[in-house]
Amino acid sequence: MKPLTIIASALPEAPVSEAAAPQGNGLTEMLAGWLPESVPFWGLTLMASGLAFGVIMAFVSVVAMFSTWLERKVAGHIQIRLGPMRVGGWHGWAQAIADGVKLLIKEDIILASADRPLFKLAPALVLGTAISTFVVLPFAPGVMIADVHLGIFFVIAISSVTTIGVIMAGWGSNNKWSVYGAMREAAQVASYEIPLGLSLMPPVIYYGSFSLLEATQAQSGWFGMHWYILDPSVMLVSVPSFVLFFVATLAETKRAPFDLPESESELVAGFHTEYSGIRFSFFFMEEYAAMFVMSAIATVLWFGGWNFLGLAALEGIPVLYTTACMLVFIVKSMLLVFVMMWVRWTLPRLRIDQVMILGYKYLTPLCLIVVFAASLLEYLRFVLSN
């Protein structure tokens, strides 16, 4: 893995390919230009990390708030209601902010019988892992905190750490329903890691890289529509692999019909039954952040990342181009998030044994077949092109 490369959004012309990437840290260098010489290097690094964290945190909060509002609106309209309509005026746009403020000022209850360190650490761990996955997302050319070479791997690895936080929350709550939720989460996520990882392999084979940036750049052909899922030569594997990935994602992010860890009609609220106030909202934010990250991964690998028809025409106007690319990327991801919400408010919930059967008996073998087919196809493409 090459050193983390932070490229400032103000530098759309910044070299993005591996060979030409700046040796140091884009953000650090930028700060060094602004600050007096006396600031030591470690200070700059610290500041750059703080800045990056601040930006991601703000972005995650906005995404979580918007998704909460969207979820309530989607649920409302699916259920022949209107959803929030009052707070803020237009279609209750400020509802999520009001909810956030309410959660902040609510009493933070920690049970006397709870395992306090675990109970307190769990939400932070869960949200922290969700935030750190944002580091590798390529929002637009030059707008990316770090181009990690094993970006896809990084996301899968980090997002599984959430499970540990959930188990800590379930165990620390000293509530049997919470323990049930935590155990279900452990079993479910452990089983669905396999199909999730395998379903990511076809695109990786296609791009020949684990880097999310390279995957995006590889899809820039055809005036921005050369998406993996639209490439007719690989459609035979790209579409099934996306479907498999999407199903595994639903399980991984604890969304219906796989929301067993927090199934409210069985386990009250699952692992976060005993949480209140801001700690509860951390779990809430994590759920939406994870949904966004997973959708963003799908966007990058299957739906062309920031590429869109004719977007390259704007390349001459840097600021506009970057903004447009970011917008395309976020809209694509939010569309997938919307599909997840749509699924949630339509389908009933599976039972734990059915979840396991689906994971091990159907998804995993199918993923293996798709990976095999993808390898074969790639070999054929290689032979034919030479």
């Binding site: 649920a75 699916i78 259920q79 022949i80 209601r81 049997k176 329903w177 049930y180 155990m183 219906a256 019909p257 929301d259 067993l260 199934s263 409210e264 009609s265 069985e266 009250v268 408010w345 339509t346 389908l347 009933p348 919930r349 599976l350 039972r351 734990i352 044994d353 059915q354």
Partner: protein
């Protein structure tokens, strides 16, 4: 190892040794009284080996309001509103059962128009009750949306009830001697309109919820209750018919005008799994709604102008000494009132046979062997209303 808690007899407490000498102990966990899946304040003490239940025990009484004892201390008419509050989803039928019992004591017969109005309202109330049952069953399984669709039609019904008696939940409309008042002008046309709307909307629930693959997976072959078990435990209503027993009081012990109506008794068929599973109980409820619509249409065609109440039944009822029992087909099963009169204006004994209570008794025998998530499915398919089990 600590001593197991003494809440259950020691022989029921299972300790097992598995590999590596790890001794495992069953989890004892309280489902309820505050739990979303128990439809009220039912407490089910579950004993689980991981996700699999090995024992269950239901504890009742959190909503006990001494309704029967109150019935022995107030006038016959004064007891009417208490019947509303047993099974608050089918108050019309509760009123009907009580009124029929009192009328049997008095030996009066309600005029024809009153009988038709009663039948229409009882059947509409059955639809309203089944809509909640099917909708909340969706929630138990994890599908939230069908509930709102069901409430949309229920809202129409509640508006109809509000128009005829002023109340939306506790009607007290059907009274000893007849009904509160005649239907307002145009009300019967509204009922006909509802029948047409409902016929269009019914496939929505069927396609969205009942035919859903996950719903079938979750309910078929779950909580199977053979016909003999259902009979042995005294189950009635959709619980009994779901197990394939063809028994419906509307046809087998007709009251009101049911003997003049043409309708089919819906019996479970094992349509998607074993006969008598949760799917069949829900299936019976789904199709009973359509049968009710059929009956309402027939009543609308047959209803004539005339009196709605018996003129001799006054507010102070003093039946001759004697006793009467009338059981009717409530949405949840046989609701019976046993009334003993000693000739005064207050009943000597008031007894209510509540279907939810009887149906619930079999649940704790169905639960062991199922998974934890099935507990919600089975309790939901029983369709209990705690107001009625505890009275």
């Amino acid at each position: 190892m600590e001593e197991p808690p003494q809440t259950t007899p020691p022989d029921q407490h299972r300790l097992r040794e598995i590999e590596l000498d790890v001794r495992t102990q069953d989890v004892e966990i309280n489902m309820g009284p505050q739990h979303p899946a128990t439809h009220g304040v039912l407490r089910v003490l579950l004993r689980a080996d991981g996700e699999i239940l090995v024992g269950a025990e239901s504890h009742l009484g959190y909503l006990h309001r001494c309704a029967e004892k109150i019935g022995e201390n107030v006038d016959y008419i004064q007891y009417m509103p208490y019947t509303d509050r047993y099974d608050y989803l089918s108050s019309m039928n509760n009123n009907l059962s009580y009124s029929l019992a009192v009328e049997k004591l008095l030996g009066v017969e309600v005029p024809k128009r009153g009988q038709y109005l009663r039948t229409i309202l009882a059947e509409l109330n059955r639809i309203a009750s089944h809509l909640v049952a099917v909708g909340t069953y969706g929630i138990d399984i994890g599908a939230f949306t069908p509930f709102f669709y069901a409430l949309r039609e229920r809202e129409f019904l509640l508006d109809l009830f509000e128009k005829i008696c002023g109340a939306r939940l506790t009607y007290s409309y059907i009274r000893p001697g007849g009904v509160m008042n005649d239907a307002p002008a145009g009300w019967l046309n509204k009922v006909a309109e509802f029948c047409d709307i409902f016929d269009q909307k019914w496939p929505e629930y069927w396609n969205l919820l009942v035919q859903n693959k996950i719903f079938i997976e979750r309910t078929a072959n779950v909580g199977v209750m053979p016909a003999q078990t259902a009979i042995d435990w005294g189950c009635t209503g959709p619980m009994l018919r779901g197990s394939g027993v063809d028994w419906d009081l509307r046809r087998d012990q007709p009251y009101l005008v049911y003997d003049q109506l043409d309708f089919k008794v819906i019996v479970g068929e094992g349509y998607r799994g074993t006969l008598g599973d949760c799917f069949d109980r829900n299936f019976v409820r789904m199709y009973e709604m359509l049968e009710s619509i059929k009956m309402v249409r027939q009543c609308l065609a047959a209803i004539e102008e005339g009196e709605v109440s018996h003129p001799d039944v006054s507010l102070t009822i003093r039946p001759a000494p004697g006793e009467a029992y009338v059981g009717i087909e409530n949405p949840r099963g046989e609701l019976g009132h046993y009334v003993v009169s000693d000739g005064t204006k207050i009943a000597k004994r008031m007894r209510c046979r509540a279907p939810s209570f009887v149906n619930l008794s079999v649940v704790e025998h169905t639960l062991p062997g199922c998974m934890l998530a099935d507990a919600a499915a089975i309790i939901g398919a029983t369709d209990i209303v705690i107001g009625e089990t505890d009275r």
